[in-house]
């Protein structure tokens, strides 16, 4: 991994079109500004983690998990 030191207001350029600016430093928090073409996807890492966790949980279901749904429907 490439590690760079930046001060407040300084930035990093990635390729020709992506720019990351250190907008604010407050204690343990850093605010970053990201300038990128519209088609570039930018997500907090936690989003991917949440989706992975959700996928794992989803894959543990079986059609039998839906029995109570069927029951619920047939009661109507």
């Amino acid at each position: 991994m490439l590690v760079l030191t930046r001060k407040l207001g300084e930035s990093i350029a990635i390729d020709d079109h992506i720019k990351i600016v250190v907008v604010q430093i407050k204690g343990k928090q850093v605010r970053l500004g990201i300038k990128a073409p519209k088609e570039t996807k930018i997500h907090r890492e936690e989003v991917y983690q949440a989706i992975q966790d959700q996928n794992k949980e989803a894959s543990s279901a079986s059609p039998a998990s839906l029995d109570s749904l069927s029951k619920d429907l047939n009661d109507k």
Binding site: V47, P63, S65, L66, S68, L73
Partner: protein, 186 residues
């Protein structure tokens, strides 16, 4: 060909029914071949079944069933990743999480499964819209939708889902949904 599955037993599929996920599914990066199985129960839920791992399948559903205004806004790069020319050609599904208490069932709106039925390519696409939830509760809406489907007959139900694609292309090039015979008909 036959594939074995832990949920549905041995099922017969055609090579053309296999959907290729070149990037896998998030958290399951080594799984790149799936098919869509409709257990033909009354729930409107279908399963994204791994071709190589019998135990691996994800329950999923078309978002229009429980959220009429859902719109997966795909970027040009997203469309290109499954060789789609436009969004209207895509099959879109949301993966469902089904906990022990089924009333807490939720759908992943943030990262839908997008399938191009003409090229048999699929991808779980993480949408940029930050308002979309990974766990969107939808049990009540699903129940209401199923009940309204039940009042209509089965032919209406089956034409509802594949209609988008089957209408416009010849069946040979289309991914087919594997519809199992009704368990209650045995």
């Amino acid at each position: 060909m036959q594939i074995s599955t832990s949920r549905f037993g041995l099922i017969e599929i055609n090579e053309t029914d296999i959907i290729k996920f070149n990037d896998g599914i998030l958290g399951f990066e080594n799984e790149d071949k799936f098919c869509i199985v409709d257990p033909n129960d009354q729930t409107l839920i279908v399963w994204l079944q791994s071709v190589k791992t019998p135990e691996l399948a994800f329950p999923m559903i078309e978002p229009q069933i429980f959220k009429a205004d859902y719109q997966a806004n795909l970027l040009p790069a997203d469309l290109a990743s499954v060789q789609l020319e436009n969004q209207a050609q895509a099959y879109t599904y949301n993966i469902l999480t089904i906990p022990a208490d089924i009333s807490e069932m939720s759908a992943n709106l943030k990262a839908p499964i997008v399938v191009n039925p003409n090229t048999s390519l699929g991808k779980q696409i993480v949408l940029q819209d930050n308002k979309l939830e990974v766990k969107f509760p939808m049990y009540k809406e699903l129940k209401a939708a199923i009940l309204s489907f039940k009042q209509s007959d089965d032919s209406v139900r089956t034409s509802y889902r594949p209609a988008k694609a089957t209408e416009k292309a010849d069946a040979q090039t289309q991914v087919r949904m594997i519809t199992l015979s009704r368990p209650d008909a045995v």
